[in-house]
């Protein structure tokens, strides 16, 4: 028997129906967390089981899948999830943002603007933005029901009282369609503006916490702030050392024990695309330098 012991895209059809119904309700109620019967997946909780289940429920043979982990296509989590679906669903995979129809992401939104034919699937560890302020699910659920979000503003205010500015740098709370306060998953707040009025559908899956939520395309997403302390996306004040980009989100890489460091684009596809187009940063290395030298030597 060589027949695979699992269904197309791994999940059985009854599970897919259950997840699909949850996705439809999530889209109908933007920002609201729909409970779903999360399954055990062949990877541990915390490795993206929520995102994987959402992706499995919507993936078809014609899809092209991209998976990123902190912006990178080349890290363990991204590679293993991409391989998982290449094996169980036989879908084409890519690292190019504009070729993908489904992009599963762990904590970044690609730099390249998304389009209407794409679905962005987020892996979410803690879907409840109020959880660290109020541990009881019954209470947070009631707070959402009453749109009682004062506590979240108090938390942001305490940041200002203590640090002089809103110090929350990732998982920065947003209000979706002027109703639900939502956790955008631990994306850097640099990415928050990209969620607003985005042409692509955004789906969020939390496997361990058993929640699915969504932002439909062209939906208002506002980062919470105060009039005198408006929301500001944060970015290291440096160009990318490899491609020179001045507007991308940067990772800080420690290069030695003397305080040496470099800043590079966290979105590897974006960075590689820019380098291929001839953009150079201060630390660009071979093969581009060699090629440039060859070219100048004629």
């Amino acid at each position: 028997m060589n027949a695979p012991a699992y269904n197309f895209a791994y999940l059985d059809e009854q599970t897919k129906r259950m997840i699909r119904r949850a996705i439809l309700k999530a889209i109908a109620i933007p920002g609201y967390q729909v409970p779903f019967a999360s399954r055990e997946m062949p990877m541990p909780y915390g490795w993206g089981t929520g995102g994987v289940q959402v992706t499995a429920a919507l993936l078809g043979p014609q899809d092209v899948l991209k998976v990123i982990d902190q912006g990178s296509d080349d890290t363990t989590n991204a590679i293993s999830i991409r391989k998982f679906f290449a094996k169980t669903a036989g879908v084409a995979t890519t690292t190019a943002t504009d070729e993908a129809t489904v992009i599963q992401t762990r904590h970044r939104i690609p730099e390249k603007a998304l389009n209407e034919n794409q679905v962005l699937v987020y892996q979410v560890p803690i879907p409840e933005p109020l959880r660290f302020l109020e541990p009881r699910e019954t209470e947070t659920r009631r707070m959402h029901a009453l749109a009682e979000y004062g506590l979240m503003h108090v938390k942001l205010y305490e940041d200002i009282a203590r640090f002089g500015h809103i110090a929350t740098a990732y998982a920065y709370p947003v209000k979706v369609n002027a109703r639900y306060v939502m956790d955008p998953s631990p994306t850097p707040k640099f990415d928050n503006p990209k969620m607003d009025n985005c042409p692509a559908l955004q789906l969020f899956g939390a496997g361990r916490e058993k929640r699915i939520y969504a932002i439909p395309p062209y939906t208002q997403v506002v980062s919470l702030d105060f009039e005198d302390h408006p929301f500001e996306p944060y970015r290291f004040n440096a160009p990318c050392a490899l491609c020179g980009a001045e507007n991308s989100y940067l990772d800080e890489i420690v290069t030695d024990d003397q305080g040496g460091r470099m800043f590079v684009c966290s979105d590897t596809d974006y960075c590689e695309g820019r380098q291929a187009a001839g953009h150079r940063g201060s630390l660009s290395a071979a093969p581009y330098k060699e090629k440039a030298q060859e070219a100048s030597n004629g």
Binding site: E13, A145, P217
Partner: protein, 202 residues
Amino acid sequence: MTTIAELPPGFADKVLSAQSTFRSVMDAMARPGSVQQIVPMVGTPGPMMRGTAAIALTLFDHDTPLWLDARMAESSDVTKWLKFHTGAPVVQDASIASFALIGDGDALPSLERFALGTSEYPDRSTTVIIQVDSLNSGRSFELRGPGIGGVATLQASIKPLDLFERLRMNEALFPRGIDVVLVADDAVVAIPRTTRVVSRGI
């Protein structure tokens, strides 16, 4: 009297047909007013349209109580087909239904009779699937809301004629509310509870 052997068929390929149908419905729900096509072929028992049957096979199972309007319920082909292919329990009480199938829009009951969800769990609401005459000709409607960049225009001939007036209750109820899926043969349009519709006349 139809035997099981004579029932209209389900999907030829259960897995991929359900996936393709789901994507059409998901796109419809994500982009209210846009007309999505349901591609897979499926048998059409009694008054059930192709699109409705495909949606039933894609989303219904033993976990989804189902409410049928008189036009659907009185067709033994429909009830047998649903029972055989989906196993979804048919309920008389619309307020506990996950899905409602409406074959005759003129006889659509008051929307308050369906499950509207609760403030804590607004997702526990009925998705009402209404078969309509056309989703590409007829009266013109302007739609706004999440999923729509600016304004979407829908041309449709829908019964009941006052459907969108009745759906205005979603505005006051939100986040509770009713989500509607309109089906005309193989075409699908979704009107989730966030969509605001203005009739522009003929």
